[in-house]
Structure formats: structure tokens, C-alpha cells
Amino acid sequence: MTSTRTALAGMAIAAVAFTGLATPAAQAQDGELFIPLLTYRTGPFAGSGIPIANGMADYLTMLNERDGGIGGVKIRIEECETGYNTQKGVECYESTKANDPLIYNPYSTGITLQLIPKASVDNIPVLSMAYGLSAAADGNLFPWVFNPPDTYWDGASAIIKYIAEQEGGDLSNLDGKKIGYIFLDAGYGREPIPLLEQFAKDYGFTLTQYPVPADQMQNQSSQWLNVRRDRPDYMIMWGWGAMNPTAVKEAAKIRYPMDKFIGVWWSGGEDDARPAGDGGKGFKTLNFNGVGQDFPVIQDILTHVVEPGKSQVSETARVGENLYNRGVMNSFLMAEAIRTAQEMTGKKVIDAADMRAGMENLNITEERLKEAGMEGFMAPLKLTCADHSGENDVYVQQWNGETWEKVSDWFSPMKDVVRPMLVKAAEEYVASNQPWPERSEPCAQ
């Protein structure tokens, strides 16, 4: 009978071990707003990931320190390291899902694509701030996904519009021009291609593409050799992580006119332009958030978070950098959505469904921005049930060797062109992912 006893003992031990593992490590406490932050401070994209992670965490910590949270309720943040790896991103999602999170910020187009279908089933909103699936801007089909203030397609159209402006103002001036597109060869970089190809057809310019594989980000000499051969009039870049500084350095090396080299908002980190030294002067990127420490909100972060040592930033000077401020803006949107949801429901402690409604009814006015110490930090923003992106104004900034300078006014992307394409793409996505759940969430106003 020894073997039977062994078997029973084994089974018991196994059962105990698995029960131990099965219990979630940390349970959400009542009276808290739980926001998991999927960040990456390791891996090839850490250079871009660290300032964003710091900005996101510091703004929320500042709210806790200065105001005691939002509406008197403390925010609990928990970072989960993804390393920009989709497998780990999904693991982070699964591990934090049980603790009643309000919202997810995947900060990777790959992870966003994985979370979009899950979000509508698990009823947790996903905020992919100006990245992820452009088509998700259609709130009727993607009630749980938000991508304010702009989609990649807005960004691409804004860059084309800006180039036309440089060429004299009219889009017809693009006829016969050659525009190069250098991009990270992943979902992120490929997202704008359909739109750019459409524009090339409509406005008569030639589009040449220079894909950079993710594992070759730091070796772009062959792409830039082709750029030198093709001599495009303008270069557009969709880069991230280590790809950006390499591209700027290579462009400087082949003496490409830097003021004709325009990146999307994710190519505008200080560390992207700085390593090229003087050669990087003149490099331009789009932006939708303010840069620098001259905002009351950033001063508050310095006083309440950085000086008492509650921040992870390596030095005070790094507060206020472009990507840091982008993280601040990301957290500001979440905080405003919580505030909106609290006003709508009258509850202090909201849940993910309230958060979704709060995101959908987000209305950040000039007055509100002023009140929050963010005047001029970002353009006013309003989301609706149908429009989860807003197609808001952007501006162009230029690297002067030391810092980013605003060189254009705020201007709007080409909404009339982008919007129909967004709707069409959303329908295509839904058609290829049948059965797609019908929107059942009421449009609360």
C-alpha cells in the first residue's frame, strides 16, 4: 500500500503548492484607484521607455502627494516591466487584471494589438495615447479603446501638410517631389504606409520606403546609402528606441539637409537628437505636448515628487524633457478621465466601466488646462462616443543642438482625408475579426 500512500501524499503536496501559486499576490484594497503601468526600463527600447515611465509615474505620485489623490481617493500605481516584448506584455496584463485595474497603457503597438480584442471582453479600457491601431479611433466599433490626441494617420497627414507648407502652402506643390519614408519594420512603422501611398497617388509625389528591421536598428548604413542614392526631397521617420539616434546620426553623416528630415512624435526624444552632436541641428519632429520645466505642473512635480526623492529620474534636469512630459500628459488624461467619471457617477471609487465612460466624455478645455497648470502644454481635447481620438492639433519642433524649439503654430491634421479612411479600416478590422461584439455600452453624456 506504500505506493498508494505516496500517490496521495504527492497529490496533496501538489495541490497545496498550486493553491499557493494560484492566489493572486496582491489584492486591490478598497478605496483605491488602481492603475497598472506597463513600462519598459530594460531592453533595446529602454532609451525611449524610461522617460515616459518616469513621467507617467511622477504625475500620478504628484497628485497623491499634493492633492491626496483624485477626489480624495489615492491612486495606487504598479509598474510591470514588459521590455517592449509582447509575450511579457500579455503576461503583465494577465497578472494585473485580477486586481481591478482602471485602464491599461501598453506603450507598444504590438501589445496594444493583443489587448484590443481582450479589452472589450474583460471590460477594461485601453489608452494607447497616439500609438496602436489607428482604426480604433472609431468609438462605435471599439468602445473600450482610446487613442487620443492623434492617430498615426493624423501624424502622417500632418507631416505631409507641413511639407506642403514648406513648399509654398498648397498640396499641389508636392507634385513631382520625392519623399522618403524610413520606418521601424514592425506594426508601428507600417501603420502609416497605406495613408502615405494614398497621398502619393493623390498629390503626385513619389514615396520611397526604407524599412529598418527591429534587430538591425543600430545598423542603418545600407538604408542611408540608398537615401543618398535616391536623394529624396524630404525624409519622414517613424522610429522608436535605438532606431532614432542611429537614424539622426546616419542622416548627419550623409549630410542630408536636417531641416527636411521630419520625424513623428515618437522620434522626438532629447536622446534621439543629442548623440548626433552638431550634425543633428535642424532635425524636426511632430509634437503635441510642451517641452521644458516652465509649466506650473512640472514645477509641482519637482516640488512634491522629485525633490523629496520619490521619483526614479536620474537627475532633475531630465524632468521636462519631451518624452517625460509625454508621460505626464498620458497620466493627465487618465486623471482627467477619473475626475470626469467621478463627476458623472457621483462615486469616489470608480471601476473600469466608469473609467471607460470618463474617457469617452473627456473634455479638456483651455480653462481646465490653466487650472491644472498646463496652459500651452497641450491642445484642448474632447472625445466623443464616435470619436476616440479627436484628431487634435499638433506642432513641429526643431532641435537646435541643445533643446527642442517650437517652429510652427499648432495646426490640425487633414481630418477630412483621414476620417473616412479610419472608418473604412475599422470596418475591415471588424470584418476580419468576426464575430466582433456589438457595442452595448450606452453613450452616456
Partner: protein, 358 residues
Amino acid sequence: MLYREAGQYKTSYAADMAVFPIRQDRIGIAVMLAVAFVAIPLVASPFFLASIMIPFLIFTLATIGLNILTGYCGQLSLGTGAFMGVGAYACYKLTSIFPETNILVWILASGIFSAAIGVVFGLPSLRIKGFYLAVATLAAQFFLEWAFIRIPWLYNYNASGAIEVSTRTAFGVVLTGPTAGTVERYFAVLAIVVLMTWVASNLLRGWVGRSFMMIRDMDIAAELIGVRPLRTKLLAFAVSSFYCGVAGAMMVFFWLGAAEPSAFSINLSFQILFMVILGGLGSLIGSYMGAAFIWILPVLIRMVPEALGLPIEAATVEHINFVIIGALIIFILIVEPHGLARMWQIIKQKLRVWPFPY
């Protein structure tokens, strides 16, 4: 004391040739199956199933696939990730063309496509061996990854270039897509992995496996005995790629739910190769151990500081994780170069003669 075969008499040839000749082993395997099929689904949280068990089983299957090729047949391959990708893309195309068909059928059928591709890239193995063959399979890795990015037909002309899994059923149960339950997915993965492990263990004990091992140990001698090297090596590539293909299809359909081509990069190939080497070349149980070590241990280490309430930053935990796993791999390979499976075998051997081990 517990693990002793005294008193167990083998009275037939069949009993002597059994896979598990010792009664304790048979009970052990029964207990493990009971835990896997009954205890885990009953008590485990969705996180444990979705982020630990499902990926662990899928990686195990891929490791078994590579182990058949590298461990049993001696052909070093770095194309595992790409072969998994072939399975995933094949399954994606099949199920988008025939959405009504039972998804399990396509999961298994996708292995056939992977096997065919594996055979093509296995052709150089007749002339080149060892590191040179590894380079040839590396070409497979790069070529296939290029194909996943550059052939839009493979991902149905999706703007993002990723494959996204829609809702599919088997026997009326939703198994894939966002609405699929974790337990259902776990059972599907578990059933396929257990079934394919059983097939592999029988295949490897028969003439097929023996001819693989003959080729591995000395190909000229094998040829003299009458084993045809080309056919055997290609068969090994086919079987191995079949397993990898099914694992790849399961990885996307039952675990991730969507995949970019970068999911099947060279890193995945290396990850599987490490599982094979650490688990033990030429061992099925080693494949399970290797996959568990490389996949489960980091997840557990990541959970430790939180469970203890230590205020350590997520990024720091990740750095510590790399250090611990790296150090453990070096330590284990120094202590036992033949991997965890050999260690397990030694433990069993010592237990059998306990209390007088030698």
C-alpha cells in the same frame, strides 16, 4: 525506500520493454496527469493557467520538436522560431479560408506545412553537419522571417502586418479569440501536448528513433548497416518541424491571440535551443524540465518581491532576474553538462539503491 523495485517481477517481454518498467514511475506519471488534468484546472487562477501553464506546455512541445532533431538525430538547428512561425501562419491562413472547420484540425494540419518547409531547409543536412548546418538553418530563419513581413497575403493584407486570431470553435466550444475561456484553452493545449508527447515517445523507441540515433552517433556506421542518411535526416527535419509548427500555431491561437513577425525571431529559436540544452539533449522529460526552467522560473522570481512586500522596482526585478537565471544556467551546466534530465536520472538511480547509494 519509496522508490524501489524489489518485489516487482517482470513476467513477459512486454513488461520488460514497457516505457515505465517500475511501478512507482507509472504511479508518478498517473499522478502528474491527474494534477495536470484535474487539480490544476480546479484550483489554479486564470493568471496561472494563461501565463504559466499554457506557455510552458507550448514551449515544451517546441522543445520536444527541436530535441527530436538536435537531441535524437544530432542535427543542430537555429530555425525553430521560423518553423513555429510557419505553423502559425499556416493555421491562420487555413482558418481564415475555412472558418467553420474545427480549429483543432487546423492546429494539427498546420504542422504538415511546417514539416514540408522543414524538409526543404533540411536538404543541406546531407552534405553539411554541425555548425555549418546551424548556419544553413539560420538562413531558413532569416528567409522565413522576411517572408512573414514581406508577403502580405500571409497576413491577409492587414495594415499592421500582424496576424490576429478571431473566435474559432471546436466541438461547439469557443477555443480561440478573446472570448475563449482560459480553462478551455488550457485543456486544448494540454491534450495536444500530452498526445504528441506520447506519439513522440513511441516514435523514438521504434525503428524511426533508433535510425535517428544511429545517424547521430555515427552516420557512416549507420549507412553501412542500411540506414539511408538523406531519408532519415529529412524525416527528422519533417517530424521536428511538425512539432514546432503545431507549437507555433498553438502559441498564437491559444496563448498570444495576435502576433507580429518579430514574435518568431531568432530570439525564439535561441530560447527553444536553451530549453533543449538545459533540459537535456535526447530526453523527453528533459524537454519538460528545460521549458519549465526557462519559462516558469523567471515568472516566479518576478512574483517573489511582491509576495514578500519588498519595495523593489519592476525594472530592477527584471535585471535581477537576468542575473539569477544566467547564473543558474551556468551553475547547472557546470554541475551536470547533460542537463536537468540527466540530473533527474541520477537522482532516480540513487533512490533505487537507497540507503546505500554509490
